[in-house]
Symmetry: C2
Subunit: 690 residues, 2 copies
Amino acid sequence: MIRKYTYGNPIETDAVVEKKETQTGSLPYFSVEKTETVKFSYIMDPADVVYGLGENVRGINKRGWLYESRNADEPNHREDRHSLYASHNFLLIDGKDHFGVFIDYPGILTFDIGYTKLNELVITPREADLDVYIIEGESKLDIVKQFRQMIGRSYIAPKWAFGYQQSRWSYMDEEEIRDIAKQHRDRKIPLDAIYLDIDYMERYKDFTVNQETFPNFAEFVKEMKDQNIHLVPIIDAGVKVEAGYQTYEEGVANNYFCKNVKGEDFVAGVWPGDVHFPDFLNPDARKWFGHSYQFLLDQGIEGFWNDMNEPATFYTRERIDEMMEDASNREWDLDYFLDFKDKVSVIANNPEDYKKMFHNMNGERISHEKVHNLFGYNMTRAAGEAFEELCPDKRILMFSRSSYTGMHRYGGIWTGDNLSWWQHILLNIKMMPSLNMMGILYTGADMGGFGADATEDLVMRWMEFALVVPLMRNHSALDTRRQEVFRFENVDAFRKLVELRYGLIPYLYSEYMKAVLYNDMYFKPLSFVYTEDPFVSQVEDQLMVGESLMIAPVYTQNAAGRYVYLPEEMMMLRMRGLHDYECRKMEKGHHYVEADLDQVLLFLRPDHLLVLGEAAQSVAQLNTEEFKVIGFVREKAEYVLYDDDGYGKDYENCSNYTTITVDKTGTWKTEGGKELNLQIELYDTTGKRI
Amino acid sequence: MIRKYTYGNPIETDAVVEKKETQTGSLPYFSVEKTETVKFSYIMDPADVVYGLGENVRGINKRGWLYESRNADEPNHREDRHSLYASHNFLLIDGKDHFGVFIDYPGILTFDIGYTKLNELVITPREADLDVYIIEGESKLDIVKQFRQMIGRSYIAPKWAFGYQQSRWSYMDEEEIRDIAKQHRDRKIPLDAIYLDIDYMERYKDFTVNQETFPNFAEFVKEMKDQNIHLVPIIDAGVKVEAGYQTYEEGVANNYFCKNVKGEDFVAGVWPGDVHFPDFLNPDARKWFGHSYQFLLDQGIEGFWNDMNEPATFYTRERIDEMMEDASNREWDLDYFLDFKDKVSVIANNPEDYKKMFHNMNGERISHEKVHNLFGYNMTRAAGEAFEELCPDKRILMFSRSSYTGMHRYGGIWTGDNLSWWQHILLNIKMMPSLNMMGILYTGADMGGFGADATEDLVMRWMEFALVVPLMRNHSALDTRRQEVFRFENVDAFRKLVELRYGLIPYLYSEYMKAVLYNDMYFKPLSFVYTEDPFVSQVEDQLMVGESLMIAPVYTQNAAGRYVYLPEEMMMLRMRGLHDYECRKMEKGHHYVEADLDQVLLFLRPDHLLVLGEAAQSVAQLNTEEFKVIGFVREKAEYVLYDDDGYGKDYENCSNYTTITVDKTGTWKTEGGKELNLQIELYDTTGKRI
């Protein structure tokens, strides 16, 4: 059951698609205090667990910190940060009470979850104009499903986007990209995509291609696609100010850009130098910007990533001029020097600049500050709405850096500029189920880490987790150590791991699609499945992946294994590759499990099935009819394998759903869907191969 | 056995006190390559463990990263850093070979320990003038002991410095300090010291006291000492340039400051504004600076901390002028803005500035760059040498931020500007045994974290580890959340934990003193004790503390316990306080152990004894004759309890050593030393209380 409570005059965010009536009674669970704004307080029991907040720092259990919804271009994902790139204002309280709360509010909002006082949860929006939804249900998962139902079906990526993807800021020209493709293909490392970071453009102008470095872009896109490699260009939020540049001229002519205090087009500095920001909150501007992607679709592009859309600003000229004028008139003593350094450090993404930027929302002039968290969402919505018109029958890969609830309908996200830190593998693990709660299912972190220098062991361990993450992309920053896997010593081990990914795709894609279609979570905390187990809420470094698997990634350097908690007896698969693994039955409880640097630990639930395909060099080349099915069957196990052509949108077609049944003797059959050729690898309850 | 190999013409560092003859043969273990400098390479087996490097980032096992000896004012102890404040060029290789290597070299040096290639260890000094010591022994501990013997006995802190200490940047005046003392005393939270950060000085001038905020300093020192609270002032490396200021005038008049390229006194900006740096490598200057501490000793001060002695520089005027002139003549486009930001970011601690600073070493002019890592060491040596003359019969508390091997004879260190991060608890744990290998025994991290905002649970968990750390100091930075424990909700829990510390002091002090006197390690990795256990080299989050205890701190937020590995059967003590604990015998092997937020996990080895005293409000008030002895005795257990007056230096006096013997029936006796009154709390091998 969902109840909606309205305070003041909320700005419509379009987060919710199943509209609810506003309740008249008082808000349950919380005490509400009217201050200059409004403050919602809830007293937690010491053992209560608080889930939610999607993309943010810290644990699956969010207790013990102050979080802020303030979409931020924040490359330092340190544990003392309060915000990252997104605002996902949903919490799920699990303890003496069980309920979800969604705060639909586009402005700045804080969640003090036991930061000021260990047992007090306080939610404070900057202004008292918002909708609060209280969601009650039978279970944690039921509450999440109701929330998801209300906010609408999640974005569905094309199947090729489940392949391995290689990125770098930046591959500079055709020749470099050809080489990256060749290095993978020569070594038989599967690959489905190579990314174009900002340097593919002409002077960082959206919807342009640098003619010197990519003289025959459409041909080059085709050349790569003939190898089953997709090129995925980046699109930035800011449009370069440059006379004669089409996007700029169109935006100016039609008043599609955000305005400054004087009503002129707002100017900030980003990669292209001075830019204007399209007013994505204005439906006309959104439509115009979305249709601009046509330029790249026409050249054969089938996927994009939207960046810098918090929006990030490096500077405004006013702020620099002010700083420099002041600096040249001052005595440079220590105090002033420190003051000056502080000033330099807040030039980028300055909240005062956001206050001076204005949107046109249905004819009304609204300060950006009040709707800050909607910007990236609506940039991606612009693209998503346009794709529905431009290519209604084909899925286009789309993911964004910044987001707000609602954007999950138009694209996924990547988790932004992480670092080559071991602890960021763990952060990646923890963030995935939190994002899934928000409906963000097509997601992943920069594998190997974006900033800082990676080591071979870090990349390998990270890959072992990324193997089961929908967006499996190796991405790294300018001036950091190269981390394409072919550059390291143990190329064979990396190849076997990527092959394992491709063997897992039938299962992973099936689980992803079912999670989307049934408002389910692809990644779940163990506590969402084993609801009666008092220990599992403690487990933050293992996840359920779909209905059959639990994973326990190794994320510490020089570790030859890790502790694993099994909430029931399971079959451990310790895998070096698709054809190089060992199975062992393990009892419910705590275990220390060894895992060499190149070994992945998967755990198969009893009476569940794992469908494994053969590897291929790309998703397009996967055999979709012959599978190995690994089972650990007490009586009978059933698995619904979802598959489709990977491009179209006929998701409900019953031929997509094949029910596989296996009994404990290994007898199998399929119903509905497709004819499959299965090889059954069965283990009995003692762990012996049947 | 220690062998010394000399390359080129090394600069004397005085790291080594037991001088060795240079060998003529070739360096064992390493292949030596002459490049512009010299490169030492060693091929590791995949399972080899590399210990060492003292104060640096990452694990107890240093494999998998590139480390640099370059003493750095580095407040971001991120895992991608290469240096912190110290250079401790000792490695211990444990695998197919077993040896220690100490590189005595005062300049910049890199240790590539499997960073470039997973199995290759490469050591590269910037210039080929150095001594290399190869140390072989019967065991890891034996190698460490030989190394320690060679570099000389570690600094010994006064006993009061094992009490609980409270710090903050800064307690501004007498009134604030009085209040901090009162808040602790009123709530019966034991306390032995309050720290004076930079604001106690007059305009940040060393060896001055601000007369407005501390008008009667000597009286105030006495007022505090009457409460058994020591005031511990900070001393910075830079001496303010200010006409008439005694230290400045003396330094200038006697040419005691480092010089610039023109032979004038070198100027850089630090807290006081422009400063000169005393030339600590010049024995006359060292003596002069050391004797300046007399000013504070005379006012009753008995302890100091030496800071900013990498040396840290915030700026040089030349660099700022250059930057500003350039800035005012340039077009402020994006490229220049980014360039400018980069320039601002490297103004502090710029290596080019160090190149322009010069020392006078025995009449020879030497660029600071070549001896950079000796600076902090010799600042603290200045003080230590002076104290030997000024108060030869009394120990003075002294610890430093920056260090190099050799400094351990004159003071301890604190581990610098960490952050209120959970992972910095773990870093603290890992760093302690590495520092102990280097002879740095009086050490600790800023409990609760220096930078960023702490939470109550973080401070409590951190304290649970800090309980056994010699330097147990709660310290935090300007503008961060206050973290004195009386400010939190669960003051009782904090008090019980601090009381537990005071009850542990008899054991901790005894173990510290024996570690110093026998060149032993106070904190050991488990692998140094359980040398035959193949698993223990994996354990990086448990430590041996002295001869009887193993600890397993909880360092993750919202955790209600943790995994613990027991290398033999042990007695677990799960403690909320000195009189609130539970004992349980646990088998060798892996365990998950619960620990509430206010519970500490200690593990007592069989046939070892834990001597516990009663709590007191200060170390001076501890009862040193009545103890509880907890034992887990199969036949007989013996423990040598070291104690002394805590101030004097008659360490070898046999009355300091009392041998306690307990047999399995609980019969006890003492030999030598003092008459003790013991209460025996014995458990049999089934874990039952006898």
